[in-house]
């Protein structure tokens, strides 16, 4: 039902950059500078796109959406890291118990 999305942005002004980061932080995990991985349903994707359009300057900024496929398929294994200890992406949905 959910797809994994790689979302990257170029935002050319500091205030919008902060707002974009905060917006995407509510939808997924920042994995590099200006790069997020978000697991989204079609509804969540639409809501995110709408909010991205409201935050960005459409002539000066650019946001890239890459569909890595459904979470039931290969998407959970589509992204890997080497080097400095990075972030571990959730691959199994489930309740968080703390």
């Amino acid at each position: 039902m959910r797809h994994r999305w790689l979302i990257a942005y170029d935002v050319s002004e500091a205030k919008r950059l902060r707002r974009m980061h905060r917006l995407l932080d509510g939808y997924g995990d920042g994995v590099q500078y200006s790069v997020f991985i978000c697991d989204l349903t079609d509804v969540e994707l639409q809501l995110l796109r709408e909010q991205v359009l409201q935050v960005m300057h459409q002539a000066e900024d650019r946001v890239m959406f890459v569909d890595l496929g459904p979470m039931s398929g290969r998407a959970p294994h589509a992204v890997s890291f080497v080097g400095r200890e990075g972030i571990s992406l959730r691959d199994k949905p489930g309740a968080v118990i703390i």
Binding site: R22, D25, G26, Y27, D42, E50, P93, A95, V96, I98
Partner: protein
């Protein structure tokens, strides 16, 4: 122009006439019962409307004025009503040329491939807007549908035929609203697959149980399981904070954990957990309830999720049912369902088949189905419970044998539970109550007005009703599995005076087991599709609601073979 209608008269919104023509039941659910649910279509629709939903800050001449003939003007989001016709509408875009007014209605997508290049519901909606405009002195010849995706305008002439179609529909809406009865679902309609309310309407399920149409197969239109899941916090001294647009949970001596609001359906707290005001407020805005359990596990209550369900008719039906034969029939079905499932659990899991016990439970399940007398019913329930729990210890084997032996000595007990099995059962039951309370609230019930369980002070009696058939299937089976697979060992418990309690680690194990169970798919025996247990709670609550609202004749408890 009457910008607002200050009157007690109930005005029919043009949009509801549209929905009525599309599906009378949809109009009733939304307008009379106040139900709403979003899907991709409704969200995209709102996005398309974002500009025309903001009123133009500009003077709009009244229809009775006589402006200059050539004066052209457009206005967005104009609210108009006609008290005489009992109608109200918000016109997305009003184009005026002198006294000639043309309402423009925004739609997402593209025009349909038919002769009118428009569907009847939208044409009727424009006709209603035209009628209101005419009642306000404007001259209207046509309306326009603007299809945002292809940026195309489709002309809709407002002729006598369309006006009479609209008049009939308006009468239909008024009759429906005053009847107080929810229209039946459409039968086998392709419209339903994309309807955002199909999970509330449960069209095929209702039709099947009401014997309407020749529905033998039920389309699974509800998502098999919810995407969002609860966040449990049971580590004492943890703090839940709002950071940006996320929640961050910090347990003592642990790294903070970030949780996305979109991923959580509820925040479940055990004992002494701090939640900041900002976090509670954000959760309320998302309509995510915060649910409180005592340190020992007792479900205390919940906060948030607004000021209650808007569908009053369900609560009224609940009260009306009290003391009627319907209450007795539902209570009997609930008991029969539980006993049936207790039998199934024993039959599947007993190391040596015990036909005396399973046979007796089968008989009790059969008999209880038709019992009208409440005391007799409760007697049968009690007898079945004693029979069941007497056989229960035998289900604990191998790595769980130690726990079964302690349970055998004590029997089922609580407050406080005297052995590990009882501790785990009580803990699981209280989480089951919480899930069922949540399902009851979502379906619009008053969880305190029970059907089988009599209303008692502070007891969510209806949630206890809903949970009966799930006790063996969800709680008891999880308990058995956790002990038998060695996930729960004596170290997961500690003694408190006479009672036995789960340690924090033990609680975590039980919650994980409970969650695994709720995620499991199971074939619905009546509807024939697979859903998760968590979705089943909602489904059964809504089917109970259909019985109380007289949409279907009898409550069918969920049972497995």
């Amino acid at each position: 122009m009457s910008e607002t209608a200050e009157s007690d008269q109930l005005l029919v919104p043009a949009r509801m006439v549209n929905e009525y023509v599309y599906c009378p039941r949809l109009a009733y659910l939304e307008w009379v019962q106040g139900e709403w649910s979003d899907n991709l279509d409704t969200i995209e629709g709102r996005w398309v409307h974002r500009r025309v939903d903001v009123p133009t800050p500009r003077q709009v001449p009244d229809g009775s004025d006589t402006p200059e003939p050539a004066h052209e003007l457009t206005a967005r989001s104009v609210l108009l009503s006609s008290e005489v016709d009992g109608l109200i509408a918000r016109v997305d875009l009003l184009e005026m040329s002198g006294r000639l007014a043309t309402p423009v209605e925004y739609k997402k997508g593209a025009p349909p491939d038919n002769a009118a290049r428009a569907y009847d519901p939208e044409r009727v909606q424009l006709a209603v807007q035209a009628m209101i405009l005419r009642a306000n002195g404007y001259h209207v010849e046509r309306g326009v549908l603007y299809f945002a995706e292809v940026k195309e305008r489709v002309d809709v002439p407002i002729d006598d035929a369309l006006v009479s179609l609209a008049t009939d529909a308006i009468r239909g809406v008024q009759a429906m609203a005053s009847s107080g009865r929810c229209p039946a679902p459409l039968v086998d309609s392709p419209k339903c697959t994309r309807c955002s309310l199909n999970g509330i309407c449960l069209l095929d399920e209702t039709n099947l149980l009401a014997g309407r149409g020749d529905a033998t197969t039920v389309r699974r239109l509800v998502a098999p399981r919810p995407v969002a899941r609860p966040l449990y916090v049971q580590e004492q001294g943890s703090v839940v904070k709002k950071v940006g647009d996320t929640l961050v949970v910090t347990a003592p001596d642990a790294d903070p954990v970030k949780v996305l609001s979109k991923d959580i359906s509820a925040v479940v707290l055990h004992g002494n957990i701090q939640v900041t005001t900002q976090a509670i407020r954000a959760l309320m805005e998302d309509e995510t309830p915060v649910m409180f359990h005592s340190f020992g596990g007792w479900f205390v209550g919940q906060a948030g999720a607004g000021i209650g369900h808007r569908n009053v008719s369900v609560r009224m039906a609940q009260h009306r049912a009290l003391g009627t034969p319907l209450q007795g029939r539902i209570a009997a079905a609930l008991v029969a369902g539980k006993v049936q499932n207790q039998r199934t659990l024993l039959r599947r899991n007993l190391p040596v088949a015990d036909h005396a016990v399973t046979g007796r439970l089968a008989q009790l399940a059969r008999q209880s189905r038709t019992v009208a007398d409440r005391d007799t019913l409760l007697g049968m329930e009690g007898y079945a419970a004693r029979t069941y729990f007497a056989a229960f210890p035998a289900l604990f084997r191998e790595r769980g044998a130690w726990a079964g032996a302690q349970f055998r000595a004590n029997g089922r007990n609580r407050r406080p539970p005297l052995d590990p099995v009882n501790a785990v059962l009580s803990f699981l039951y209280s989480h089951l109550v919480r899930e069922c309370t949540s399902a009851a609230l979502q379906a619009g019930f008053d969880p305190y007005v029970g059907i089988l369980h009599e209303p008692h002070h502070g007891r969510a009696s209806l949630a206890l009703d809903l949970m009966e058939e799930f006790r063996p299937l969800v709680a008891d089976s999880v308990c058995i599995t956790l002990f038998n697979q060695g996930e729960l060992e004596p170290s997961a418990f500690h003694a408190r005076a006479r009672g036995v309690m789960l340690t924090p680690k033990g609680r975590r194990v039980v919650l994980a087991g409970f969650e695994r169970r709720l995620e499991q798919f199971i074939m619905h025996p009546v509807f024939g599709y697979q859903v998760s247990y968590r979705r089943l709670f909602d489904l059964q609550a809504r089917m109970l609601r259909a019985v109380l609202l007289a949409e279907t004749a009898a409550y069918r408890p969920f049972t497995t073979r």
